[in-house]
């Protein structure tokens, strides 16, 4: 599997992700500037966390207009997997690849802590490595992670089993305790918690590995790209 990591000006978790993929999971990955317009040689795209363009307007709002995001849209439309972590999730909602939006945390403060999650749907290509309803711990670090969508959308997310991760103790006010969702087709995941920060015992836990190992396992399955 070969992963593309778009690096937006202001991204700051790109190298963390790169290390997690290469050093811990031995997955091939490339850091790509926003000028890249062709992603056809990749099997997956993961948008990293950080503060693209400073997040000076709304998080993710400016990054969405970069050339590489047009390529990511095309890539997603072919059914290949796209993941957005933290700022990556924010960019995916701004770009319309995922429903809803991310507002300032309820406390209106940035929060960095370990948060307990429930794997609500372990049947997505990003979560098969987890047990049904498994409780895992992943770090969160965001100021605008308060997921918002209207009630109709929430009902739809639930009906279509698009909610992948839910917070156990909602730390930011997210609607429906939502920490991570997929699109209807199931090939685009956005999540506020940082799986790439939870891949080593030394740094406090390995519960994040599942996101990447799921991706890896399902990449080898022929049927997912069908």
């Amino acid at each position: 599997m070969k992963v593309a990591i778009p690096v937006f000006p202001g991204s700051n978790c790109d190298e963390d992700l790169y290390h997690a993929l290469w050093d811990i999971l031995q997955i091939t990955a490339d850091l790509l500037p926003v000028t890249v317009t062709n992603l056809s040689q990749y099997d997956a795209v993961i948008l990293p966390g950080g503060f693209s363009y400073g997040d000076y307007l709304r998080s993710g709002a400016i990054a969405r207009f970069t050339p590489i995001m047009a390529a990511v849209k095309d890539f997603a439309s072919t059914g290949k997997p796209v993941v957005g972590i933290c700022n990556g999730f924010q960019i995916l909602t701004e770009a319309g690849l995922l429903p809803g939006a991310l507002r300032a945390n309820q406390s209106s403060r940035f929060i960095c802590q370990n948060s307990e999650l429930q794997v609500t749907n372990n049947q997505t290509i990003f979560s098969t490595a987890y047990q049904p309803q498994e409780h895992i711990k992943l770090p969160i670090a965001h100021g605008e992670g308060n997921y918002y969508c209207d009630l109709t959308t929430l009902a739809e997310l639930r009906a279509q089993k698009q909610i992948v991760f839910e917070y156990v103790d909602n730390p930011n006010g997210s609607v429906g305790n939502i920490a991570g969702i997929v699109n209807r087709r199931g090939n685009v995941l956005g999540m506020m918690p940082h799986p790439e920060r939870a891949v080593e015992v030394l740094l406090g836990g390995t519960d994040g590995l599942g996101v990447f190992t799921s991706l890896l396992a399902n990449n080898q399955r022929e049927d997912v790209h069908a």
Binding site: L57, A61, E94, A101, R103, A104, S108, N146, Y148
Partner: protein, 83 residues
Amino acid sequence: MYLAKVYVTYKNSILDPKGEAINDALHRLAYQNVESVTLGKYFELKVKAGQQPIADQVDEMCDRLLANVNMESYRYEITELED
């Protein structure tokens, strides 16, 4: 040259945590008669006349970039500036 003043606020149904925090702070400062506070964004854009009508263009900029219409609404006023 035009001056566009753009106001972006959360839609009504959406909770505004920053506004509430400011509301609380005002109460602590003994402004008990403040009932509610909402916090929005206020842009001032200086725009040169282009091919498109200026209002259309500002509207488009709001829609595409300055506001996230999933949760925010916007309004604007345009005045012409002396050069």
